[in-house]
């Protein structure tokens, strides 16, 4: 069916009205009668022994209801927070798993580690009381510098992880790769840092909880991307509250980008304390707390080498990475720099041999986990910067070198040497389209024109591949993942013909309430305004895995399609009965069941009504009601791919990099709502450019203080940092899901950093600058220019 509101249409979002009129309902907005307010006392030290905690003065502070410390949790036998993915090291041993207490007991391990929880009648009173808690710390040396984390004598973070090593993991056969390097005509080498980022969803994390003494039921409202997974972790591993006694609700959530996937200490405490306090508890992070305690992203130190033959064909890639885990292993932290990173190192290329070694380190910094792209931006940055560097060294056009090595469109399904099997793709038309939109042939003229104005102009490519739509559950299980990766859907008609589409995924900006309704409208013919998409409440939604890794449409949307199939199948039986026809003769078209070749028809709404008021209904053969569940487990990852081209101008006197143009051409498979997809790409590009030019979490290397701990210190991308973007699409439908869709949520952030940095290096190459680290701030760029000029003078 095609219609103005069906698949492929730019349907305006149904969720917008409430957000535009101030009637959205986020966790902090909840009115809870008799609520108390929590404030968490955080460690001011990166590493210290807690010698004593004296709460006596704080307890007398006005309005205080309760104060809890780590010892209370030990006494109550509360479990620690968990890491849900067991990565086996190169010897087959599971990763080191140091305990992660919900609140620190005798040691604090990063600035922001949770030390005490104060509950009071108001938030200000809780905060005032926290200031009166006396903690006697014995400050210890801290392990902050990732590049030195494994050095002999480095301060140790956990006795359970000797040498600060969580795992030493590898993929590929090193000897084969070394042999290929020995025969190479050219080897390009590179040392890079993938800078640490702070996600900064605009809504700070928040939690509220209520305990019903009569039933023993807990309700936890949380800013979660995956309420069922949060409940499962809290029930099975941390708090021991039976799953059926804990309801987790993630209402409107103000952005996530990965940072709201994980099970955090604060929401755990709010839930646990609700029954002890006997009144509802509310907590919302101050932005400073978000900076200190949200899981950070990226943070790799990498050495990479690419071997090429004399024609420029890639022979082998070798990558050594140290990945920062922070002080504790967060929920999915171990998987990010392994299965979501090294398995992507083939990129869009036929590189036959790849070896990657990843060593994960613990440091006295905030935990690091998945952040928009999660491993795939890091992989893309390695591949796409080394390919451009190789092109520059070989004096080849960067597009030409890429084209020479692209996996040909005839080679799909394509087995890479790093485990993944790409299902579909056609890369050359993508880069062609991007070069056309970006007017690549006109670049040298623009460079000359900029030079005449005293500016250095550069252009950079990034041709990314990503694996998203996680993923076949059996594969995830074999790789050590602790959960399944299917998604659920329920389509529940009401007797009057309107419908609830209930999904186990969660929307926190992605527009599922519109996109998912389009699917059902398109398939079943129900008008858009008769469809309500329900998500985010463990009591009203079937168990589902939530939203991350660009999975909601590919996996959750596919589950919805399966459920519509079941609705149609049941509807056919009802309609056959009503039309006194053979079910085999009934077809479903444009929302109506028909008998082919006759004018007999039964609209879906009539079949639905008959199912709920079954006066004339084949009750002996089919059950009443029109309410179908489906679960969809994907057959493979999906593999969006694309090319971004960034064009920058640099002022050599100030080091300021200006993004002049940024083009993205993507293959997301079939597109349900182009308007929403474009929005995802825009936002992703800005986060990616943010990583390249502005953002960086900076810890003082001695004290472990977070120096970039507020919006005054951490540069968030702003509107005037960007031009308007130019987008294009190419479509190769995904062959293994019913919608033919791939994911679009992370692509922008995955591809952009390399495109920008390749442009920066392209701009600076004529004046001899070899390397600029991210973020390419004015200071970094200016210092690189000065260094190159000094070197040239010597």
């Amino acid at each position: 069916m095609t219609s103005a509101t069906g698949i492929g249409a730019r349907v305006l979002r149904t969720e917008d009205k409430r957000f535009l009129t101030g009637t959205g309902r986020y966790v902090d907005d909840l009115p809870l009668a008799r609520a108390t307010y929590a404030y968490f006392l955080r460690s001011p030290h990166a590493h210290a022994k807690i010698k004593s905690i004296d709460i006596s003065a704080a307890e007398k502070s006005p309005g205080v209801v309760n104060i809890f410390t780590g010892k209370d949790l030990v006494d109550a036998k509360v479990g620690g927070l968990i890491c849900g993915w067991v990565v086996k090291d190169k010897h087959g041993e599971p990763h080191k798993a140091p305990p992660h207490p919900v609140m620190a007991v005798d040691t604090v391990r990063y600035v922001g580690d949770t030390v005490a929880m104060v509950v009071a009648n108001s938030y200000d009173e809780a905060r005032d009381a926290a200031e009166a808690i006396k903690v006697d710390y014995e400050v210890l040396p801290a392990n902050i510098d990732l590049a030195k984390a494994f050095d002999k004598g480095a301060p140790q973070v956990h006795p359970e992880a000797p040498g600060n090593l969580i795992y030493d993991w590898e993929i590929g056969v090193k000897a084969d790769v070394e042999a290929a390097f020995a025969k190479a005509a050219h080897v390009t080498k590179m040392d890079i840092v993938n800078n640490r980022l702070i996600p900064n969803a605009m809504e700070p994390r928040a939690a509220a909880a209520e305990y019903d003494k009569g039933t023993g039921n807990y309700t936890l409202w949380s800013t979660s991307q995956n309420p069922h997974v949060l409940r499962l972790i809290l029930s099975a591993f941390v708090l021991g509250i039976p799953e059926h006694k804990l309801r987790v609700i993630a209402p409107d959530v103000g952005g996530g980008f990965g940072s709201k996937i994980f099970c955090y200490a604060d929401e755990t405490m709010v839930c646990w304390a609700a029954s002890r306090v006997g009144r509802p508890i509310k907590w919302t992070a101050e932005r400073s707390e978000s900076f200190q305690t949200d899981c950070h992203g990226r943070d790799h130190v990498t050495h990479a080498e690419l071997a090429l033959d004399k024609e420029g064909k890639f022979l082998a890639l070798k990558v050594e990475t140290i990945a920062n885990m922070g002080a504790y292993l967060s929920t999915f932290s171990t998987a990010v720099p392994t299965y979501l990173y090294a398995t992507l190192l083939a990129g869009q290329y036929t590189t036959p041999l790849i070896y990657a070694n990843v060593k994960a380190a613990v440091t006295h910094t905030a935990p690091v986990d998945a952040y928009r792209g999660a491993g795939r931006p890091e992989a893309t940055f390695v591949i796409e910067t080394i390919v451009s560097k190789a092109a520059a060294e070989l004096k080849m056009d960067p597009a030409e070198l890429r084209r020479k090595n692209f996996i040909p469109s005839t080679a799909f399904p394509y087995q890479t040497p790093v485990a993944l099997q790409y299902d579909s793709g056609n890369y050359p038309p993508i880069i062609d389209e991007a070069m056309k939109i970006a007017d690549y042939p006109g670049f040298e003229a623009r460079r000359a024109e900029a030079k005449a104005r005293g500016k250095l102009r550069g252009i950079g490519f990034s041709s990314y591949i990503e694996a998203c739509g996680l993923a076949p559950s059996q594969v995830i299980g074999q790789l050590g993942g602790g959960v399944g990766q299917w998604e659920s859907a329920q389509i529940k008609f009401n007797p009057t013909g309107n419908v609830q589409v209930i999904t186990g995924s969660h929307s926190h900006g992605q527009g599922h309430e519109t996109t998912f309704a389009q699917l059902v409208h398109d398939r079943l013919g129900v008008p858009m305004d008769q469809i309500e998409v329900v998500h985010g409440d463990t009591s009203t939604t079937p168990f589902g895995m939530g939203t991350y890794g660009s999975r909601s449409l590919a996996v959750g949307g596919s589950a919805i399609m399966k459920a519509t199939d079941k609705i149609i199948a049941k509807g056919k039986k009802i309609a056959a009965h009503l039309m006194e026809a053979d079910v085999a003769d009934v077809v479903f078209e444009n929302g109506t069941f028909k008998v082919a070749g006759t004018d007999k028809n039964v609209p879906l709404a009539q079949a639905v009504f008959a199912a709920y008021v079954p006066h004339n209904y084949p009750l002996a053969e089919i059950e009443p009601g029109m309410d179908e569940n489906a679960f969809y487990d994907p057959a493979n990852f999906v593999y969006p791919a694309g090319t971004q081209i960034c064009e920058v101008e640099i002022d050599p006197d100030t080091g300021i990099v200006e993004v002049i143009a940024h083009t993205a051409v993507d293959d997301f498979g079939n597109i349900i709502n182009p308007m929403i997809v474009e929005g995802q790409v825009h936002g992703g590009i800005v986060q990616g450019v943010g990583q390249a030019l502005f953002e960086g979490a900076v810890y003082d290397k001695q004290t472990g203080q977070l120096l970039s701990g507020s919006f005054m210190d951490y540069t968030m991308p702003r509107a005037d940092n960007f031009p308007s973007f130019k987008l294009g699409y190419k479509v190769t439908p995904c062959p293994h899901n019913p919608l033919g869709v791939k994911g679009c949520g992370e692509a922008g952030a995955i591809a952009a950093p390399a495109a920008v940095m390749n442009a920066v290096h392209n701009a600076l190459a004529p004046i001899g600058v070899k390397h600029v680290e991210m973020p390419a701030t004015p200071l970094n760029v200016w210092q690189s220019i000065q260094g190159a000029q000094r070197a040239a003078a010597e």
């Binding site: 009129t21 986020y26 101050e286």
Partner: protein, 161 residues
């Protein structure tokens, strides 16, 4: 110690007893239950809390409730002329997909309206981008917000708002 404060919010007279340190945004959210205005930071950077005070856009986290004594305050809840009609700026945000998670949106819309009026309904892309310096969005990449504001400026003029 509490202080009495009275003001007009979205055309209605309101009053309450607040602590001296109570911020205008806390008064709106916690005392009046008007949670459309959001708090996204603690350093007056993000702009999620922008409201209009006597016709000027103000970060309501940067103003004490008592400073708004006697003022006319407009919040995101007070913009739409009726239940089924949006303000042209709200309409433009919807038409141009200028919001995703919706958290920065109230502040964006309030800032944008003030921007259009200060520039006498005539704006260009560079001006809009520069003027958004005090409003952060992490979802949209600003692209569609800029488009929406450029579309809303003439629409506001013809609607006379």
């Amino acid at each position: 110690m509490t202080i009495s404060v009275a003001m007009t919010v979205n055309g209605k007279s309101v009053s309450g007893k607040v602590e001296a340190r109570t911020l205008l945004v806390q008064f709106l959210r916690e005392h009046l239950g008007m949670t459309g205005t959001h708090v996204g930071c603690d350093t007056s950077q993000c702009g999620a809390c922008v409201v209009h005070v006597d016709g000027q856009s103000v970060k309501s986290c940067t103003m004490l409730a008592v400073q708004a004594e006697g003022a006319k305050v407009t919040t995101i809840e007070g913009l739409a002329p009726s239940a089924d009609k949006l303000h042209p700026m709200q309409e433009a945000f919807r038409d141009n997909h200028a919001l995703q998670c919706g958290f920065c949106t109230p502040g964006m819309v309030m800032s944008a309206i003030d921007m259009v009026k200060r520039h006498n309904y005539v704006l260009d892309e560079a001006t809009v981008r520069r003027e958004l310096e005090g409003n952060l969005c992490r979802c949209t990449g600003y692209h569609n917000i800029v488009k929406a504001i450029l579309a809303a400026a003439p629409a506001m003029k013809s609607a006379g708002v």
